[in-house]
Amino acid sequence: MTSTLPATATSTVPAQRPSAPEGVSAPFTGLRSRGSRADLILCAGLLVAILLVQGWNIAAYPTLSDDEGTYLAQAWAVQQGKGLAHYTYWYDHPPLGWIQIALLTWVPAHLSPSLMTVGPMRSTMLVVSAVSAVLLYVLARRLSLPRWAAGLAMVLFGLSPLSIVLQREIFLDNIAVTWTLLAFCLAASPSRHLWHHFGAGLAAAAAVLTKETMLVVLPALFVTMWRHSHRDTRKFALTGAVTACVLIGTAYPLFALLKGELLPGGGHVSLWEGITYQMSRPGSGFVLERGTGSYGVLHSWLYYDRILPVGGLAGALLLLVTFRWSVTARALAGPALTVAILALVALRPNGYLPAMYVIQALPFLALVLAGGTASVAHAVLRRRRTEQERAYVTRGRRGLAAALVLAAGAYVVPRWYDGDRTAVTADANAPYRAASAWLRTEVEDPEDTRVLVDDALWLDLVHDGYRPGLGAIWFYKADLDPAVTKTMSRGWRDLDYVVASPTVRRDAADLPNVRAAIGHSTPVATFGSGEDRIEIRRIDAGHTTTARSGGSR
C-alpha cells in the first residue's frame, strides 16, 4: 500500500459516499467557520458596527479624490456603453476594476442618474468593505486563529481611522483587496479541494486585473496554498491555481492583442506603452528620508492611525521571528509574508509610493496584529502551564493579561475615538458641492461651455448638461490627449472656465495649457479658503465669444 493517509486505515473502500455532501469531509467540518453560530453572531455584530462607522457621513469625508472621479467616470462610461473610458482607454490600469464599479453602481445609477457622482456613490464601497471584512474573519478562522482574535482582526481592519478614510473612497485597491482576501480564503480552504485552489487562482487573477499592484502579493498567496494543500494532491492543486491565474491574467494582453494594441505603433495607444509609463513613473524618494514625497505619504498614513501600520509591522516581525516555535506564526505565514513583501516594496530607495498603496496591506496588517496578539495571549496564559500549577501563578497570568488588555485599550481607544469621530462628523466636501451647485445654476448654456475640471467634479458637470469629454474636460487631457488638444487649436482661448481645485493647481505646474488657462482667467467664485479652496475662474473676457465658436465645432 502506498497510502499515507489516515483515511485508508478505515476498513471500507468508500468509492460510493452517498451521505457525505460534495466536497466536505467529516473530519474537517469542525474547522469550518460558517457552521458555528457563535462565529455568525460575532461576525454579524462586528459587521454592523463597521458599516455604521464607515457609512455615516461617507459622502462628506474624506475630501473627494481625483482618482475616485477618474474611476467612477470610467465606470459611468462603461454603463453608458461608451467603451472602457470616455476618453481613449490607454492601458493605464487593467479595466476590470471600474467594470466592477460599473456593476456595483448599476442599480442606483439606473434609479437616479444624478446619483452617479463621487460623493453619493461612495456608499457602494460599503458593499466592498463589508465583503472584505467578512472574508477577513473567515480567513482568520481558517488560519486557525481563535474566535476573539478573528473578531479583533475584523475590528482592526474595519474601524481603524486609516481604514475608514481609505475604504470609503472609490479606489480600485479596495476591490482588489476583496478579491485577494477571497483568494486567500480559498487557498486556506479546510477541505483542500482542488477546485477551491483553482478558484483561488481565479480570484488572484481578478485581483491583479483589478489593480495590478496585487502582483507582488501572489508569492505569499502561493505559500499559503502550499501550506494548506496536502502532499498527495499538492501538485495538482498548485498547478491548477497557477494555471487558472495565468490564463485569466493573460486575458488582458489578449484583449490588447485582439484590439491590435499590444505593441506600440503609429496612431494608437498600446499596452506596452501603458506598462512602461507605470514602470517609469518618477520615484517619490526613500520612504524614511525626511522631505521626500514617500515620507510625506507615510506620514499621511500615520496621521490617521499609527496602531494598525506600526503594530501590524511589529506583529509580522514577531510572527516571522517566532516561525520555528509558534503554531500561530506558522499558520499566519502567508499574511505575515504579505506584510513583509509590501513593506520591502515600499522601502525601495526611489520607488513611486502612491497614497493608496497601504490599502492592500490593511487586511494583512490587521490579521498579523491580531495573530501576534493571540500569540502573546497564548504565551501569557498558557505557555508552560501544567495541571498542577499553583493558584497564584494562574492568577498572576490572568492579572498580567488583564493589565495588557487595559493598557492596549487605554492607548488605542482615545486615539481611534478621535479619528473615527472626525470621520463621522467632519464635512470636507462642502467646497466641492458648492462649486458643483454654482456651475449648475450660474452658467447659462452648459452645452456650449467648455470647462477644465478635475475628475472628482467631472460627473457633476456631465449631469448638469455639459458635454462629456470636450465640454467638461478632465483638465490634464487639455495637454495630454491628442483627441482633446486638436479641438483647442488656440489653446486656453478655446476654453470658458477653469475649476481650480487643489489638484488642478498642483498639477498645472507640468501642464502648459492648464497653466495658461489659469493665468489668463479671473476667479468668479471661490469656495473654502487657503490651500483647499476651490476657485471657479472665467477665461478673461474678450476671448470667450471667439472661444465658444471655436469650441462648439
Binding site: M1, T2, S3, L5, A7, T8, A9, T10, S11, T12, V13, P14, A15, Q16, R17, G23, S25, P27, S191, R192, H193, L194, W195, H230, D232, T233, K235, F236, A237, T239, G240, T243, A244, L247, A251, L254, F255, L258, K259
Partner: protein
C-alpha cells in the same frame, strides 16, 4: 463540455480524502470468497504461460483459473493444457463457436465457474499477487456486487501515442471511474473486473453481439442498481501495453467507440433512476463523438478569433474552449509527472514535450476513430469489425512480453 470532462477527469484529486478513498483498503487477513478467474486466450501462446504462472502466485487461498481457448487454436490450447496438468487450480474450457469473440468465450466459461466471484483478465496481463486478497476484502466490507480494479498501460516511452494512451488510462482508472462509481453509472473496463457469480448469471453474462461487452455489462448492472466499487492502487494495477501500432490503436478505438454507440442504442441506461445519472450516461456514451467535434472546433475557434475581424467580445467567447483545453493540457502534464512518481518510472523532459506536441495529433486520431465508428455502425459493419479485431490479436500476440 471540455469543462465537464476536465472536472470529472480531476475527480480523484479533488481533496486528499477523495484521493485516499480511491485506494484499496488493507485486507484484514480473513479470506472469505472464492474466485473463478476467466482468462480468454486466442493466439496468445507466447504470453499465456507467463500470465498463468503469475496468477498462480497469488496470495489468495481459494481461486481457480479458467483458461478459455478456441477449438481452432491448438498452439494456445497446448500451453493451457500443460498448465492444467501442472496445477489443479487451472482448468481449460474450449469455445466451439464458429465466429469467435471475447463475450462468447466468456459466456461459454460462465457455466463452468465454481467460485463466488468471477474475475476477468486478459492473456497478456500482469497481475499483482496481492490483488485477489484486496478485492476479496473490498467485496466483503462494502457489500459490492462488482469490484473494478485498476488497469494501467505502462510503456509510455514506446511512442508518442503510447504516451498519451498511457495517460488516458491513468486518468480513466485513477480518477474518472471513481466518479462513475459514486454517481451509480459505470462503464466497466475489459479486465481486472470482478462480479459476483450469481449477479452475473442473473444478468445472463455478457452480450455476445456487443463490441464493448465490458462497458455494456457495467451499464446494465448499474442500471438495475447493482453496487459497483472501484479501487485503484498503483502497486496493484494490472499492467498492460498499448497496441503495437498506430493502426491497431485506431482499430481498437474504433471498436470501443462503436461499442459505446451500441450500448447507447440499447437504451439500458434509460432505466437509471435519476435524471442526473441518465444525463451522465448519455454524455459518457456520446463522449467519443463530442471529442471528435471539439477536436475540430477548438483550433477553428482560435483561428476565427485571431484572423477574422470580429468584435472583441465575440473573439473572447471563442477563446473560452481553448482555455479549458489549455487547463486540461496542464493537468495532463502534472498527471504525467504523478504517473511517473507512482510507478517509479523516469519521465524525461522529452516526454513532456512529446505529450504537448502529440496532443493535437492524438485529437485527430480520436476524431478519426469516432468518424470511422459512426460510419461502420451506419453500414452495419459490426460483424466484420469483430473478426477484424480478433485478427488484430494475432499481431498483439507477437509483441514483446511485458517486463515483470
Amino acid at each position: 463540455m471540455a469543462a465537464f470532462t476536465l472536472w470529472w477527469q480531476m475527480h480523484a484529486w479533488r481533496t486528499p480524502e477523495v484521493l485516499a478513498s480511491t485506494r484499496f483498503a488493507s485486507p484484514d487477513g480473513g479470506g472469505g470468497l472464492s474466485f473463478s478467474l476467466l482468462l480468454p486466450a486466442r493466439h496468445e501462446q507466447a504470453v499465456l504461460d507467463h500470465t498463468i504462472r503469475r496468477l498462480l502466485e497469488s496470495s489468495h487461498t481459494d481461486f481457480e483459473i479458467i483458461v478459455i481457448v478456441g477449438h481452432d487454436d491448438p498452439e494456445t490450447a497446448e500451453v493451457a493444457r500443460s498448465a492444467e496438468a501442472r496445477d489443479p487450480r487451472v482448468r481449460v474450457v474450449v469455445d466451439h463457436h464458429e465466429r469467435k469473440n471475447k463475450p462468447k468465450a466468456m459466456n461459454t466459461a460462465l457455466s463452468h465457474c465454481r467460485g463466488d466471484v468471477v474475475g476477468v483478465f486478459d492473456a497478456e496481463d500482469q497481475v499483482h499477487p496481492e490483488l485477489l486478497a484486496h478485492v476479496d476484502q473490498a467485496f466483503r466490507t462494502t457489500g459490492a456486487d462488482v469490484v473494478q480494479g485498476g488497469v494501467q498501460l505502462i510503456n509510455f516511452h514506446s511512442s508518442w501515442y503510447s504516451l498519451r494512451n498511457c495517460l488516458e488510462y491513468f486518468f480513466w482508472f485513477r480518477s474518472r471511474l471513481h466518479l462513475h462509481a459514486q454517481k451509480g453509472f459505470i462503464p466497466l473496463g475489459g479486465n481486472t473486473v470482478f462480479v459476483r457469480t450469481d449477479v452475473l448469471r442473473e444478468a445472463e453474462g455478457w452480450d455476445p453481439a456487443c463490441l464493448a461487452e465490458d462497458c455494456d455489462l457495467g451499464v446494465r448492472l448499474s442500471s438495475v442498481g447493482k453496487k459497483v466499487v472501484v479501487a485503484y492502487d498503483s502497486d496493484m494495477v494490472t499492467k498492460e501495453e498499448t497496441p503495437g501500432s498506430l493502426m491497431s490503436l485506431l482499430k481498437q478505438r474504433t471498436r470501443w467507440n462503436q461499442g459505446f454507440l451500441q450500448v447507447y442504442r440499447k437504451r439500458d441506461w434509460k432505466q437509471l433512476p435519476t435524471m442526473g445519472q441518465r444525463l451522465l450516461a448519455r454524455y459518457t456514451l456520446m463522449t467519443p463523438y463530442l471529442q471528435a467535434v471539439s477536436g475540430v472546433i477548438i483550433p477553428l475557434d482560435v483561428a476565427v478569433a485571431l484572423f477574422l475581424d470580429v468584435p472583441v467580445g465575440i473573439a473572447f467567447v471563442t477563446f473560452l474552449p481553448a482555455v479549458t483545453a489549455l487547463v486540461t493540457f496542464v493537468f495532463e502534464l502534472v498527471g504525467l509527472h504523478d504517473f511517473g512518481k507512482q510507478y517509479g518510472l523516469r519521465v524525461r523532459t522529452v516526454h513532456y514535450l512529446k505529450l504537448v506536441a502529440g496532443g493535437p495529433f492524438y485529437q485527430v486520431l480520436l476524431a478519426g476513430a469516432a468518424v470511422r465508428a459512426v460510419w461502420r455502425e451506419q453500414r452495419g459493419h459490426d460483424d466484420w469489425e469483430l473478426t477484424s479485431h480478433v485478427g488484430a490479436h494475432l499481431t498483439e500476440a507477437t509483441r514483446e512480453d511485458v517486463a515483470a
